[in-house]
Amino acid sequence: MSITVIPDPADQTSSTVPRRSVLRHLLKDPQAIVTAILLIVLFSAGLLSPLIAPHNPNAANLDAINAGVGTPGYPLGGDESGRDILSRLLYSIETSLISALIGASVALAIGLTAGLVGGYFSSTVRNSVEWVSSLIMTFPGLITLIVLLPLTGGDYRWTMLILGVLLAPGTYRIVRNLVLGVKKELYIDAARVSGLRDFRILSRHVLFSVRGPVIVNTAFLMGAAVAAQSGLAFLGVGAKDVPSFGLMISSGFNNIYAAPLQFVWPCICLGLITGSLVLFGNSLRDAFSGPRPKRPKPVHGLRVADGAAPEQTPTSSISAHAPVLAVEDLRVSFPGTKGLREVVKGVGLTVAEGEVVGLVGESGSGKTQTAFAILGVLAPEALVTRGSVRLEGRELVGLADSKLAALRGRVVSYIPQEPMSNLDPSFTVGSQLTERVRHCLRVSRREARQTVLDLLARVEIADPQRVFDSYPHQISGGMAQRVLIAGAIASRPRLLIADEPTTALDVTVQAEILDLLRDLQKEYGMAILLVTHNFGVVADICDRIAVMRSGEIVETGTTREVFRAPAHAYTRQLLDAILEDDDSPAPSAPADRLVEVAR
């Protein structure tokens, strides 16, 4: 009996797969087909047992005691009381089916309603439902079912009803989490603005989105009910005249020395039913999650196509005079539904020492993938099919990840786009930065701590100690970005790769961060590769630009050149799309006009 369902991250996303393709997916899945057929055959046999069973399941015939397999009239033999094993099996299937139906439907009715209500409505409602759920979950499972025997009088149907109540919190949790997720979706807000009634929103929008995991859960609930009922019957809890697998296994087990095969039949049957329910549930889950690509081996490094790696550079040619970064004919592909899909198509660019180069493009242009390729942190399924990436003359493509890792954080650093999701939520800012600094500078913990505090001050954080002791969720986005910058510059890298570092920030904060980056760049003399889609940012900080579209660089040049006289039509198109910002405003407020800005 499993009250907990095997969880799967896919359960946390509501289903977006249309009905038709779920069915199609199931039909293509051999596991689904086999288990479904098995279940249908077994359950039908059980339902038809009054018609097809050769004997009454409780009819004891003295001649049939411990009869062997193949005895005329008793195809699977007789048990220790002379009852026909086959008939008992068939009726046991019926018992299991009824158990499954009662247990699962009660759990579903309670859990689904509670989850919808608890997830959708206000937090007061949710808290009360949570309480009841916690209460039910505190009941000690099977012990409760045993202990309440006086109440049920041994009737397994009542016991299954109570089991359903005990199983409900599991379903409630799943549904509630899904509903909470769906509730945040803007289309629910849009429905409310359209004036749709809550009931309709719940039934049409919310329920439909959660149906996948709920259906999967039902299969597991049924399996749990069957297993529970068998277990209880095995213990002897329940009426003795209701045939069930548990009873059969129990008597067969006790009789094992006299007739060793008796317990085997109900074991096989029980195993087939529960196993099929669980495996079918797994298949359903796969069908609802939509096509999931085979999980690739988590390679830590660049996956390079055979023969694509350029010659490794002999150490003598690694010179400090080489451009800090030289990318040549870089090609990166991802496996798609129809073979490989190229996202970076022969990109070439150079970044000289101390230079700030902007890599500009819209979404889907491949600029971020280029940056990841340089760092060697592409997704595991990505493949570098060609090209060369030289960092200070050292070839990176084809380099073992351990060697690449030695360069990361030391020679080349990275600032991500979204500050909050790029900090580990379970560790304080200080401990994360200290770890990074210890790593790239190889210093003791005490030295690292001091270095971190100095760095935090350098990135203009007002109270370094406080931020050091804070967790990521306790600081603002702008502060988090400063923290990440601090970590990135700790080793005075030769090249800093900044991936849209200000896109997620407020515009005033953005200006401050850009000032900071410019200062740091001057002070440390580091080169920066700035990935962005914002031409204003480019105008502010970049010396040269490379414009990317659909995986290719369409134009490069100094910032002034490209802005004044864009050569490529696409660049022109982009520049034209920038909304006109007329002459710089003349702030007319005299300095002594004290208007409150901060509160």
């Binding site: 907990t4 409760t144 045993i146 309440l148 942190v377 999701s421």
Partner: protein, 313 residues
């Protein structure tokens, strides 16, 4: 942190009281039957009613429960109606047997799950499928069948372990170990399934997150990332599963005890339910609930320690 722990403790106590109360309330409908069984078959309804009154079972439910609770808090769980033995010691002696298979099983299952889950998440292909397969066994095969298969194969056929019976640790430590091996294995197989899948799933999810990539760009070694960062974040939902798993294992142990003829909690609970021995049933319920609450509390505290955001709610 302390306030958080205290708050969870208080919640646990309240829940324990509510659960025992509800159980008592539900059982109160059977008091009449209980007294009838106690007195024997040929008794007049008057005699039953009189005895009920003598023993105090005709008083309002709330009053009876209150009296029981007051005694229970002081450690006095009353005496069995049928055997006149004190409830407390009998319950405890039985629960010790059960816990001696449940706790080791939980511990082993957690360790195995973490190792297997982390390993599977860091690999893929064949290795991952093997790990998933191992954990699937426990999910697909009911605990009952696992126990039966183990007994038949290892005890009856191969005679490597005793098929039945429990040896007290104090009497013979090695014998005790042998007598609990198969039951613990059965429990571990049953319990491992959900936890392995949970950890594997959470780890895969964590390893795909942004902060992991950023840590890699900082040159932090992979081992550190997986074991220090990702595992810690993945542990939080896993702890929830773990405390639920305890109730699961507790339930399975009842069945497994029966298969291996261990004098555990399950049979004790069953006999008390059959005779409707209310004081014993209440004792059984109380001890079970306390165990559940304690395990949940420990899991919550661990979660609060690992997950700073949980503390602030």
């Amino acid at each position: 942190m302390i306030t958080y722990a205290l708050r969870r403790l208080l919640t646990g106590v309240v829940l324990a009281v509510l659960v025992t109360f509800i159980t008592f309330l539900l059982l109160s409908t059977s008091f009449h039957d209980m007294i009838s069984t106690l007195l024997g078959p040929d008794v007049t309804p008057d005699a039953v009613a009189r005895r009920e009154h003598e023993l105090g079972y005709d008083r309002p439910v709330l009053v009876q429960y209150g009296e029981w609770l007051v005694h229970a808090v002081r450690g006095d769980l009353g005496t069995s109606l049928f055997t006149t033995l004190p409830v407390g010691p009998s319950v405890l002696s039985h629960i010790v047997v059960t816990m001696s298979i449940v706790f080791p099983a939980l511990l082993i299952a957690v360790i195995v799950s973490v190792v297997l889950g982390v390993w599977a998440a860091s690999r893929s292909g064949a290795a991952d499928r093997v790990a998933q397969g191992i954990s699937l066994v426990g999910h697909v095969v009911p605990a009952l069948l696992t126990a039966i298969v183990l007994v038949v194969v290892f005890a009856v056929e191969l005679k490597m372990f005793p098929a039945t019976g429990y040896v007290q640790f104090a009497d013979n430590p090695y014998g005790w170990l042998r007598s609990i091996t198969l039951p613990v294995v059965a429990l571990v197989i049953a319990g491992m399934a959900s936890m392995t899948a949970q950890i594997r799933g959470s780890m895969i999810e964590e390893l795909g997150k942004d902060y992991v990539r950023t840590l890699r760009t900082a040159g932090v070694p992979t081992r550190s990332i997986v074991l220090k960062h990702a595992l810690r974040n993945a542990a939080s939902p896993a702890l929830t599963v773990m405390s639920l798993e305890f109730i699961q294992l507790f339930s399975y142990s009842v069945i497994i005890e029966n298969v291996f003829a261990l004098p555990g909690f399950g049979s004790f609970a069953f006999s008390s339910a059959q005779t409707i021995d209310v004081p014993v049933i209440m004792g059984v319920t109380l001890v079970s609930v306390i165990l559940v609450v304690v395990v949940n509390l420990l899991a919550d505290i661990a979660n609060g320690y690992l997950n700073p955001k949980a503390r602030t709610h």
